[in-house]
Amino acid sequence: MSKRSILLGNEAIARGIVEAGCEIATAYPGTPSSEILPAVAAYSDQLGTKTAVEWGANEKVAYEMAVSASFGGKRTCCIMKQVGLNVAADPFMSTAHFDLKGGFLLVVSDDPGPHSSQTEQDSRYFAMFAKVPCFDPSTAEEAKEMVFDAYDLSERHGIVTMLRPTGKVDHARQDVPLRDEVLPPKKDEFKKDPKRWVCLPAGVRVNHPRLNDKNDVIRNEFEKDYEKYNYIVPAKGTARLGIIAGGTTFAFLSDMIRTSGRDDIEILKIGTPVPLPVKLCEEFIARHEKVLVLEQTYPVIETQLNDRNKIMGRWNGFVPRAGELLPELIEEIIAKCLGDEVETSIDEDVLSAMEEMQITPRPPMLCPGCPHRASFFAIRKALPKAITPSDIGCYTLGIMQKGIDSAIDMGAAVTAASGFYLASKVDGEERPVVATIGDSTFFHSGLTGLASAVYNRHAFVLAILDNRITAMTGGQSSPNVGAKLRKGDQGVQIDLEQVCRGCGVSYIKTVEAYDVDENVDVVKDAWAYAWENKEPAVLIFKHPCITILKEPPTPRPVRMDPEVCIGCKYCITSFNCPGLVFDESSKKAYIDERYCVNCGVCMSVCPHGAIVLREEA
């Protein structure tokens, strides 16, 4: 262990996965976990392992592939984000009961905050639910180290193990140690044994008690043999407060104590919250008058304690019951615990200055030049009264264009369209429904919804926004693109039109997303067909994501003609491009060249024709 290198937390985890001898790694991309699998591929190449790396079409698919690959004895892993585990919950619960053979690691990245997720759920609860052990890293370096222990534990006990980093571990950058040697691969020796590998009700009688026994043994191990993850940091002076901390809260706390010189806090650091080393916690609690529990995000450690009388934490609401515990907040909570004064960081001068300078929050919006913006605009213009369910991905940002009315989870654009249709059908009224979904999301879980809608004769337009990439998570490819994870590794490209035709859709049209004027009519026609024939019509709005373009398209630089602009702000409110800005002094819109990418789409947007081609192009 000589070398150190600055790695992203996700790269550190990936490096651990490869060094630990994992031979099959699968994932579905999701922030903050997305960088792990590509890094597994890169380190595998670098260290000369033969690790298979694959994006599954969704998390359930990825999970089932990886866990089955371990049945013969190989080390495998599956990677996803917290909401992905909802999708993979079914195989996760089943295989928790199994007596596994090879090491199987499930990496689930949680997103407290949340910064880019529909929920703030805590996967450690899922670990409790499934009764599988969970490692909760505080730093990138620790996350890497935990990978080895998680595999060891998984193999010794034949159990799924979970590594649960949070976003601040995934997206931390830290110098971490690297090993040059890789643990040797294991031969696949799958032996037919239906009792072991076939999930039947009868098996539960054996499986569930065995799982409980494993939990008792593992809890006991966590009490005694995992001091590197579960340990006490004594106070430098007299301890006035004991804190049990897990995950990134421990890292925040450590730095705070160091920089502030606080000497009155003793910490019990817990790196294995499930099953909780309860005795360790109880001995610690007994020594202190007051104990604060700080964890991201739910009270998982806290609710496993038998006696919570002395405890202040999320469960009793002393610590906020939602949201990420950031250093500033932790400092406030500790002060509240000890009855100390808290200095406010609010600077009234800066607040008023921000108001005077008109500095408002910068809401997330689609990139300048994003083809989705053009698609949303055409759809809204074609059918202004349409209900527009959408999905999880960049296009969720269409909310800023008033382009989406609902988004539940991946794939729900299609099923919500069915729901909205049924609600209007019962009333016997025509109400257009246009659903939007991305290409990757469509393969993730839009397909089953489409099959169901065709079969049940649901009238709506399904717009598949095909930008040739899974953009929001950083640009992973998907089945309709065909390229696989490793460079040069080519898969079979699945054609979207053919898939839809196979599902029984008869009206399918592919259009260029930038052609706003034409697409307005295309959307109207598609709805007319869907309504008349009582079946879904599919439109594929195709245009590559601007973040993947190697060469920019022919530029169509535009300018705002101030003579023509009447300052109606229509371009800003309905097109919502960062390149279009309103100047309060002249009461006219203008093009902000810092953001404009010269896509020229906004020329179709201004009802007065004020946005025109710039001559010098």
Binding site: T248, M256, S345, D349, V350
Partner: protein, 184 residues
């Protein structure tokens, strides 16, 4: 040494922390930092935290940053609370008069914050044909010019040569120099 680097998506903020990390590693120092951004898109707010020394947490606590590097004037004001009293702000102004606000000035004075403004966009327009992609290196140059962050311009020169794509090294070094001069 604790840095907070702010701006909007697409400005190359992550490269700035990469360069700082590279320099620290060359000196055998430990580093930890974190990217904090909302849903990935160009033009949205991006905040990067970066610490050199024996730290565990990737986040800079409010009121503890030594240096705030701001690629955008509005993001600078929005994130001023990260700076400690007596800290330094290096900021790219696209409106040279942007900071002429009494309340803002009073806060900066009271907290003894040293401000190094550069007009990044006009410099890049004049010398680099308006290629705003070079903004990150311009700001790093300005930081060295301001003599803050514990990084010399020679160290930064070396880091940029090591990290920039080979065919852009020369231009990057030119921009570094422009930034260095602008903030001296």
């Amino acid at each position: 040494m604790q840095f907070v680097i702010v701006g909007t998506g697409g400005q190359g903020i992550l490269f700035a922390s990469k360069a700082l990390g590279h320099i620290a590693m060359e000196k055998g120092r430990s580093v930890v930092g974190s990217e904090v951004h909302g849903m990935a898109q160009r033009g949205g707010s991006v905040v990067s935290h970066f610490k050199v020394g024996e730290y565990l947490s990737p986040l800079v606590k409010v009121g503890e940053a030594d240096v705030l590097l701001a690629f955008d004037q509005n993001e600078a004001v929005r994130n001023l609370h990260y700076l400690r009293d007596g800290g330094t702000l290096v900021v790219n102004l696209y409106d040279p008069k942007a900071f002429q606000n009494d309340r803002l000035q009073s806060s900066l004075d009271r907290r003894k914050i040293e401000v190094h403004p550069i007009e990044g966009y006009s410099i890049l327009k004049e010398h680099m044909g308006g290629r705003f992609l070079f903004l990150n290196v311009l700001i790093l140059g300005a930081m060295c010019g301001a003599g803050v962050g514990g990084v010399s311009v020679d160290e930064m020169n070396q880091a940029i040569s090591d990290l920039a794509p080979p065919r852009f090294v020369e231009e990057n070094l030119k921009v570094l120099k422009l930034g260095h001069e602008a903030a001296r």
